[in-house]
Amino acid sequence: MEETLTLVVATLAATLRVATPLVLCAMGGLFSEKSGIIDVGLEGKMLMAAFFAAATASLTGSAWAGVGAAILAAEVLALLHGFACITHRGNQVVSGIAINILAMGLTVVLGAAWFGRGGQTPPLAATERLNPIFFPIAGDNVLVYVGLLSVPFAWWVIERTRFGLRLRAVGEVPLAVDAAGISVSWLRYRAVLICGLFAGLAGAYLSIAQNAGFSRDMTAGQGFIALAAIIFGRWRPVPAFGACLAFGLLDAIAIRLQGVTLPGIGEVPVQLIQALPYLLTLFLLAGFIGRTVAPKAAGVPYEKEH
């Protein structure tokens, strides 16, 4: 009995550990998507942030400097996305992909040039990382709590504030927001910057909290899983949080199930469980599990009439 309990608690703790970067990323992405700016570049922002967090923590010896650098790096990419999509009304998907590829290359190029370890940063000492606060085994560092708090924060801002109302409006009918005398561009820039902040925290979590350093492509598609969680949560914070936890649980189970034979089913291929978030999202998108409704103006650049 006690063994089962330990297993359940350990799995839940693992779920939270895995889900934290997804939650942070999804909450950030929500702000962007709600304002009508599709963000395929979450993955790239998170990767770049993870690199700069580890590089800075390693060079300065301070985890908090790492967090700051992560946010800065993600915000630079967020501004680039905004510059391309809002100011120049470029294709949002193209811009997001460019950011992903840029981050994939630049983190390795800079890492190899600065540290000479084939794109990795030097391993971080305990003092250079964000460490667990209450339960050493659970890995409950400060960013886990930030992740948990980001959900009510996103809900409150989007659903209960004037800014949130305008944000939702600009993602649905930007013309109405413009007609009310509110700047569409400035609203969307703010949304993109909030997204950068959260993606930066998610990146920092990966390289200086969950792991002890940066390794190439360490995001491994988590930015896209966060995107899937947003879709699964139908562009609402609390359901999106639920989706992140579910995907995190899948991941935690996948690690436990490696090489285990289940009675009646046989050995479950790990690859199937890894692909499950994507498969489930595809089923959802195909309309087999209810309907999804994206913000109407998502992906459409706003052209102001003169």
């Binding site: 391309a84 999509c85 470029g90 998907v93 994939m104 290359g105 794109g119 998108l285």
Partner: protein, 365 residues
């Protein structure tokens, strides 16, 4: 910024704008190289030498370009229909599955003359099938093709790892790869082909798939600009409502565009598996699908432009490897950075240099 996009002379629009986009991208690349502490001009010299300095390096440049032509065409065909196919990566990968299954089942029974065309068809068919699912989801279920093709890339990767590790692995092999293809089921290398007509070149990975890629370029050009289906496809991309009124079946055209796109992506499998590896391996398509986006954007969606862009990226890929050999501080991923920047400046920021060019060349009136 000015919303009025005044017309530029044709040669500026087609010739100078793309060059200005690329120039901006390479300006940033130069800055990054400078930051790393290497003289950008010295690096450029090594890169060019590495890409076209010998007949071997030219061979490798053309071999990489072959892949980029396939994926560039794949992205472009979908783009002309107004569809953004990011799934070239997964479609090429699954195309490889089709190619591998065909060869592994039949190479003992069929002569090369039958086997190779069949394997090429299987690559195209599997690539098309993998693209058909998101196309169907877009056409009938209204789900966004960008999101679905991204997801399908991950699903393809998981599926291939599972199949390679558990099913298709050669008996007794430690690494996940299939048994080798029979010699008759391989596309001849360019070196062997040229030797046959009396021209000696250094051996490289270049094989006759390049000709298939060039043939695909001509085919795509004829299809898009000289057939009613191509006309309907491009009309849908420009203005779906107009296409609908003109009698185009939008759902069927979506399927057509995506299947063609997936089939073209499958060409990567021909070049890689039939031409080079001669067996089914993991991750042979890695990165080529995404580079295809850069190639298509830079080539402005035209087969001729795509060939030129593919040559440039082939040269970068090959030259980048040589550059890394000479200056270890510049890793091969520099090429990935360049790809990202080209997608940024030729795609999302494509209109950035327009005001400057307008100031110089805009027609009066």
């Amino acid at each position: 910024m000015s919303t009025a996009r005044r017309p530029l002379p044709g040669w500026v629009e087609i010739g100078l704008m793309p060059l200005a986009n690329i120039a901006l991208a390479f300006l940033v690349v130069g800055l990054i190289v400078e930051v790393i502490g290497v003289d950008p001009f010295h690096a450029l010299k090594l890169l060019v030498l590495g890409a076209v300095g010998s007949s071997e390096s030219i061979g490798y440049t053309l071999y990489y370009a072959t892949n980029f032509i396939f994926t560039g065409l794949a992205v472009a065909v979908a783009f002309h229909a107004g569809l953004f196919n990011i799934g070239g990566e997964g479609q090429a990968y699954i195309g490889g599955l089709g190619c591998g299954l065909a060869v592994l089942t039949l190479d003992r029974y069929l002569p090369g003359l039958l086997m190779i065309p069949l394997a090429i068809l299987a690559s195209a068919a599997f690539g098309a099938a993998w693209a058909a699912i998101p196309a169907w989801m877009q056409a009938w279920r209204g789900s966004h093709i960008v999101i679905t093709t991204i997801m399908f890339n991950f699903v393809a990767s998981a599926l291939m790892v599972y199949l390679m590790v558990n099913v298709l692995i050669a008996p007794g092999s430690m690494t996940p790869q299939s048994r080798g293809f029979a010699a008759s089921a391989t596309v001849p290398s360019m070196q062997a082909a040229l030797q046959w007509i009396g021209i000696a070149v250094a051996p490289s990975a270049l094989n006759l798939s390049l000709l298939l890629a060039l043939l695909a370029c001509v085919g795509v050009w004829i299809f898009l600009w000289h057939t009613p289906w191509g006309y309907g496809l491009r009309t849908m991309g420009q203005n779906p409502e107009a296409a609908l009124y003109a009698g185009t079946n939008l759902k069927r055209t979506t399927m057509l565009a995506m299947c063609l796109s997936g089939a073209l992506a499958g060409g990567v499998a021909v070049n890689e598996l039939l031409g080079v590896h001669h067996r089914l391996v993991l991750d042979f398509a890695a990165g080529y699908g995404f580079t295809g986006i850069a190639v298509a954007l830079m080539g402005r969606g035209h087969p001729l432009g795509i060939v030129l862009a593919a040559l440039l990226f082939g040269a970068l890929q090959q030259g980048g490897a040589e550059l890394n050999f000479e200056i270890p501080t510049i890793t091969r991923e520099m090429v990935v950075v360049i790809q990202g920047l080209v997608i940024l400046f030729s795609g999302a920021l494509v209109h950035l240099p327009r005001p400057w060019l307008q100031a110089l060349f805009a027609r009066k009136g």
